[in-house]
Symmetry: C2
Subunit: 220 residues, 2 copies
Amino acid sequence: MSNRRKNELVDPKEVPKAVVSRLSLYLRELQHLRLNESTVSSGTLGQKLGFSDAQVRRDLAYFGHFGQPGVGYRIDELIDAIRRILGTDRKWRVAMVGVGNLGRALLGYRGFSSQGFTIVAAFDVDSSKVGRLVEGVQVYSLGELELVVREKQIELGLLAVPGKNAQQAADRLVQAGVSGILNFAPVTLNLPDNVSHIGVDLATELEQLCFSVANRTPED
Amino acid sequence: MSNRRKNELVDPKEVPKAVVSRLSLYLRELQHLRLNESTVSSGTLGQKLGFSDAQVRRDLAYFGHFGQPGVGYRIDELIDAIRRILGTDRKWRVAMVGVGNLGRALLGYRGFSSQGFTIVAAFDVDSSKVGRLVEGVQVYSLGELELVVREKQIELGLLAVPGKNAQQAADRLVQAGVSGILNFAPVTLNLPDNVSHIGVDLATELEQLCFSVANRTPED
């Protein structure tokens, strides 16, 4: 496997979404493990997350050759590699649109900055919020969105506005030039193909949990 | 396909997670479509979500025979069927543990109640919050957790406490008898096999977005 050439790897766009989402889980677990260990086996890494060692090796094989027999993965190296693959080996500049309860919670969410995301501006229609700092982030009026996004070279947008305002706010982020939108509003956005967007529907997560509970048998 | 028998269906526990998570997406889209339509084709449903018609049909085929050639799916019927599959064709009683910014946002998140989840109690260590109503939900002290969870027959827990307190809070939910936990704290929980749990790491979602942006080619 060590002579695998780069051009034998799968095109990243062809990698199944489930594999990419497990990369984030591996990354987070490795970041915890790093505090006490310098290497980890695929078995240990998988076991911490409820996956088999084969699953871990198969997922990583999409992106190259990692780890050594008898040694396992060097944790620091694998962290660096996964961040390179995900694109989080550099800082990303992010805008928050909507500073209600959810927006406020997201502004205070420490997990973003620790993974390389910096929220550099927030926007809201409520004039009582405009001009204030919330969780250390300046709140601008929605009317300033295009200007501020361009000036601050913002690349990603977090959308936490009511559903009925989400498409319009997303359109404005796109016009201002962001490349990706993480949408917390409970609507499906219609956006041009050259803008990535992911919808986070928190009820979906609860439904997945329900499915798992409902299909559990007593002897599980 | 119409002669497919029930016992030819896959055991729900063997259905890939990605399929189950698409069921939630189908459900949400159908709930929107229902406002204006009574039937929908697999092509239209898929197209709204960026999936092929074949993907839609393949996903649904795990669970039975739905839809008719030339007619498509009857939206109301398919909504009922998906809710039955997910287990959300009944109400679920939910506890919120942690009433910080995120907990508060989750308490106010309308998407939960519209999908059948009722948050019937919230818990926090902060005595200034205990005894108050937040977004209409009574806040109890963490010390009352076991008692209240049992009395109110709470089945699911939402965990939005700091990472360092998450395992202990989860253990207490489990001891009180909940069947599933949706964990927003940025740690992996160790829980008994008979309790379902899903971790929601919001930075993960941003990483997935980054991967998509970073692997986009100009001609996309």
